[in-house]
């Protein structure tokens, strides 16, 4: 019994770690706070393999969060902040990749495959129908 409770407790602690990773910050408006939160969730920590800035406790993530905070308060737009990060850390930091020729297949590949699948489906159904018509 104790063991199960311990496991649940440690899971609860682990889940709340992301909350601890955030520093106390003051924002001049609610909008800025919301923008900050969505930005640090969308930007990837360059030190980590798969964590966003919001969740990471690594030194560089703490610094970059502070930078995002400063830039928002200085009146920079979201796009300017994202460009700033990409210029320094590459498109690696984007969890939502930019639309470009390099990411064309990434964005539209699934739809192209879906199209091919639909086409194949229609062709096969038509062929079957034709054959059945002949057999009758």
């Amino acid at each position: 019994m104790m063991l199960i409770r311990d496991v649940f407790l440690s899971i609860a602690v682990l889940l709340s770690l992301s909350v601890f990773a955030q520093e106390q910050m003051t924002f001049s408006s609610e909008l800025n706070k919301t923008r900050y939160q969505s930005l640090v969730e969308e930007l990837r920590c360059p030190k980590c393999q798969n964590q966003n800035l919001a969740d990471s406790g690594s030194g560089i993530a703490v610094d970059l969060r502070e930078l995002v905070h400063q830039m928002i308060e200085q009146g920079k737009t979201d796009q300017e902040i994202v460009d700033y990060m990409v210029a320094r850390y590459g498109s690696f930091v984007l969890y939502r990749p930019q639309h470009s020729t390099a990411t064309f297949l990434l964005w539209y590949g699934p739809f192209i495959l879906l199209g091919i699948g639909l086409l194949a489906f229609v062709v096969v159904v038509m062929a079957n129908r034709k054959r059945r018509g002949r057999d009758l």
Binding site: P46, K47, Q49, S58, G59, I60, D63, L64, L67, V86, A87, R88, Y89, G90, F92
Partner: protein, 169 residues
């Protein structure tokens, strides 16, 4: 034709197998630097040794290394003796004392020796961010025209030095 279709899954499996096999053993931590091919970003930093203000214009005119280090960084202790060797063999190294305290850095240099031509203090880490640094030690190779040609994350040692040296032109 129909029979060939049956072998499609096998073919797909083989292709994927080869792709995955080639990825094995690769360093998953490796991340290309966004700075390669660009000039060293502009900066204004204070030197550790003589409290003079340095800008990007004061950087060496030859090919050199920019090494980010800090006394808080365990791997930098490991790297230091090899940097001393490089300095003794005439490789110019610009040190960036990254997010460190001046007193601790001075102690470190006194005890272990100074492999750097000049050491600039980046206490807040802003120049580190401009260089796309994620930690220390991290080393950049800058060529004669002031363009960053290579970035190495982690310790430089006798094993990986030949590759890094190849970029110094």
């Amino acid at each position: 034709m129909r029979k060939l279709l049956f072998f499609m899954p096998l073919a797909v499996f083989l292709v994927l197998g080869v792709v995955f096999y080639l990825q094995l053993g690769k360093d998953a931590q490796y991340m290309p630097s966004a700075l390669v091919g660009k000039k060293v970003p502009e900066f204004t930093l204070v030197s550790l040794q003589d409290d003079q203000v340095y800008t990007h214009k004061d950087l060496p005119n030859t090919s050199y290394l920019i090494n980010f280090w800090g006394t808080w960084c365990p791997a930098c202790h490991v790297e230091h003796p090899f940097l001393m060797e490089l300095a003794n063999s005439g490789v110019p190294i610009v040190g960036i004392d990254y997010k460190d305290e001046k007193v601790l850095a001075e102690q470190w240099l006194e005890q272990k020796g100074n492999p750097y031509q000049v050491i600039l203090m980046d206490e807040i880490g802003n120049f580190g961010v401009d260089m796309g640094v994620t930690g220390a030690p991290e080393t950049f190779v800058v060529d004669r025209s002031g363009v960053v040609v290579y970035r190495h994350q982690g310790v430089i040692n006798a094993e990986n030095w030949p590759e890094i040296k190849g970029y110094m032109k």
